[in-house]
Symmetry: D2
């Protein structure tokens, strides 16, 4: 056991106790000498003093080339926040074969369950019917189900098929309909291997009964989903937005909900917190949720477990297995063009 | 084609246009001579006049022995309401080999999707969080997820595993946890074939993170789920009631929700409509739904399709395949005892 | 416990010890008073003496109306051989609500596994390549795989979709190709529910890469599969015959194998044992198996377990759940016409 | 389209026409200027002359640092043979961010199907029974199934869970038994995510009814499976060897088959071709196959398709998606220790 490896924890903005269970913290301490800074980003000199001995760095610490030059023993960097920030020199890390590892996969199961829950709630009117019931205005049986429908056998569409999409697919398959996917960054052949139908954006929108907008950072440069896209969707269809708010024209989306063209669930907003007087709060045919699809206690603990599992491997000289490596092609500016529009 | 068979339609309380699509009505009319009474139960003499020639009867018409004695050509009775009513002499039908067919399976997919939607909404607080958002009181990210949890990997429990349970199982399996079933009317070996864990009621309640109460008429003679049962469930667990309201002590259930011990979704009530001043309307930690889990447009059309499909078979001398035969052991008084308590 | 019920065992040609494990025999004896005749069919007077008290009869005993008239307490008949024989008055049993129960489902898992094993062995040339290896004539790597192919992604066809077909479907689904089914006795809508494509016989033959011939007794009146059918199949395709030999023109099938048009596995033969000089023994591109797809030790024990499980239920007044009821429409002469050709 | 990129093909020992369909070759030629050497490894000076302009290299060409120094425009190396050879300076490739891509995943589906076919053939005695039939010595029905068993519900074991294991898992899951995996290179948590039970080698051997030996190069340094391991397996169990022959003590394996303790299928041999007089050719309870589990026409074409798909991406600046990157930790000498023994 490499009990003398130095593991530096600089997890801000995540509290240590949020991500590490007592057991995982014990496992971490069994891997080496642990030094930690909590409650704020670690000061530069605190980091600098530890870099020459650090075997692993857990957190979102800035790592320009000058710092990497000092970190001769560094074997891995574990991000515990969820996004790859631009404060690391990824090319230099690559050259030194220091993997920068992300915890994105920890959030996916939670986001996938929320997305399905929202889709079912939209299709069945669970939220407005409960509100009507509390006002004493509920209707019963078939008189209460106007405009409601089943997911069963219906085409379901995913825009973006990264970690969240892959966690969502097995939950959608038993509904038995075709699963349509638009993701310009994934080969059609690879999508077909997943048992889904690769499709252009317009055709997906016109065919899917539920559209899950899951697109992540790598697609943010595409022009967003706007009024003309929503118009393609069949009246009464559902749209679930759990990716990035900036992938849609938010006002056009609220318009579509307001006039009853779509049923819409939103977990991410152009501004957070949303202004108190924002029209979204009064828009019917919507479900509103405060950026909470991923951030559950279980999720944060999963991050800690991933970190310890992978550091055990890395300190033994094996490749990490849980966390996701930052890929140069994706985190750097030199981005390519997607395969299809 | 047996174009001379008489098919008698007496579907009240179901409007004909609700259950038969224009296409299915055409298919029905291609099977024989169709006579119909709509808007109320068919008068006795109207029925009596048609019985001697009737090959099939679609509806909930009373069929005592005296009537069956006149119905020499009757090949099948198709209930389109959903319950086997006591107005039929089932033993005499059996002796004459006239199957009495039920449309219960048409409702199951819709109830199963609703049950899952409710479970996800409870686990993630979708309904109260949306209400808070509209009041401008939402919280964000991890501060909004207190007491929320994933279905993934958790034991999920079913009380009753008939048509609805069997439609729900494939939707639950991808969440990856054990599925626990209590159904005293089904052999343990048959449950294991379904890939679930047969379990006594008390153990199921103490282990399952969601309890789906799906029990149907055949189990109504069991003593209901009451305060001591809810107390066995782990704090913060969810209960989804989509079976029969009389299988639970409703007040005890609301107590458990009110003090935050359980999160509860209710689709069936001891009285419907529920009195305007009923405490349920003010009970927190609940989702209320007006007996609407099954009765969607798609469901009613599925009934009509079932009826026509099966009458095609019956008029050709083949067994029906979609609808469910009333089984003597179940519809008559001579009920047995369940295998296990 | 109804310890005074009389259970009569007349299982010939099945030895009792083949179908009942010691434990299941103990369970049976706990259900009532057990009397048995083994080694030959029970003599008429032995049966007649026990009929008035018999609550259950396990075996293939003849039950004409005259005998049923004496069997006032009889609640169920459990066939342990596998076929519904014509020595029972099924209509009288029906009138008296005495279910005649079959053990066919016990054989299905074994037949399904054998069918898949044969299909894979045909597609990959496992049998002839092993023989070549033993002769010292094997080839290696890609030079050994002429005419071999994967099941993955290929259309697979089932002729007949009863118990065996339903046991085979889940084994075939992960190969990812379309599953084509021809079964004129099952509604297209019911087949689609199983996730398969209902198809006419000719189209199935021309599209499927493996054709599983599973058709059972109910389809024996169709004209068999003959030369023109085999000609429709793509060269090099596989046919697996595990249903009834009389559903195919056996000589034409051997012709197709002999000239290399098909790869064929045969578990059932027009005569059994097959004459020593039958040409099948010298036909290349075949796998030969002596009616052994279903009859394993595990299968026979499953029959005994089914019988005891269901008698427990029947003696308590509940419907049986494992065994399959003889359906009047199927076991009697008054057969209908299949829906589609 | 980067029509001016130079793509160098040096595919020996694979013929070009084996791996590239005419359509894939056209797609490749649309990506850039293609230069090829076939029929033997490309001569050193032929390669050297093209390196300065080469954007992609398809083949097993030696790439020491001196050559990489000349290959300023090289973006990717695509191995089309299946093994990462030691003739490449992987560390230098990594430093230059030139992915070395392997085609291993192309073989996995074929190997997985063969492994399942062999397991079923062993469990059911398909091969020896066919041979007996041809000799006129077959038995029928239950008298022919001594020692045969079903996979259904039985624990099935995998030693090694790389590409082949992952292709095999979905084929095994519908048999419904536990799937036990021993792979010291994969985290238990990652195995559990796959729905399998991680297990020590000895316990796996004693519990599994079929043991699939799939271990690949990375485990070759473990001591092999020998007599004491085979002795742990239950009598009559099956072992399928499709990984590397040097992971087992081959003589001890034949001994176990010869005395009837195991049923064994072997696709890989310590020497290939196997000497004509090798005892394996006379050993009963074995199925012999000449290293043919992976090398089908479909497999080779899949390699070509992978290469073109991924080169399309690489030339656009995106990461490859089909082929597998050589990972420094695995291809270089600096190997770690596996997590568990």
């Amino acid at each position: 056991m490499p009990g003398d490896a130095l593991i530096v924890l600089d997890p801000y903005p995540r509290p240590l106790g949020l991500i590490f269970s007592p057991e995982d913290l014990r496992r971490l301490e069994a891997l080496g000498r642990v030094e930690r800074h909590e409650g704020s980003p670690a000061p530069g000199d605190w980091i600098d003093a530890r870099l020459p001995e650090a075997a692993a760095l857990v957190g979102q610490t800035a790592l320009p080339k000058a710092r990497l030059d000092k970190a001769a023993k560094l074997l891995a960097v574990c991000n515990v926040e969820g996004n790859f920030l631009p404060n690391i020199d990824y090319e230099e890390c690559h050259r030194r074969n220091i993997p920068v590892l992300g915890c994105g996969p920890a959030f996916s199961p939670a986001v996938a369950e929320m997305a399905l829950g929202m889709a079912l709630a939209l299709a069945r009117g669970i939220v407005p019917h409960d509100a009507a019931f509390r006002r004493g205005e509920e209707t019963y049986s078939r008189f209460s189900n106007d405009g409601c429908w089943l997911l069963r056998g219906k085409p379901l569409g995913l825009i973006g098929c990264g970690n969240v999409g892959r966690a969502l697919l097995p939950l959608l398959k038993p509904f038995g309909g075709e699963i349509l996917v638009h993701d310009p960054w994934i080969l059609d052949a690879a999508l077909r291997e997943l048992g889904v139908v690769p499709l252009g954006l317009d055709e997906l929108l016109s065919r899917a009964r539920v559209v899950f907008v899951l697109s992540a950072a790598t697609t943010e440069n595409r022009k967003g989903l706007g009024q003309e896209h929503f118009a393609r969707m069949a009246p009464g269809s559902a749209l679930v937005l759990v990716g990035r708010a900036d992938t849609v024209d938010f006002d056009a989306l609220l318009d579509a909900a307001e006039r009853g063209h779509l049923r819409v669930a939103v977990d991410v907003f152009p501004e957070e917190p949303l202004p108190k007087d924002h029209r979204a709060r009064r828009t019917p045919n919507t479900i509103l949720s405060g950026h909470r699809a991923g951030g559950l206690g279980e999720t944060y603990r999963a991050i800690g477990k991933m970190v310890v599992d992978d550091l055990e491997l890395v300190l033994r000289g094996q490749p990490p297995q849980h966390m996701q490596r930052a890929r140069l092609e994706i985190v750097t500016k030199r981005r390519g063009k997607p395969e299809k529009q």
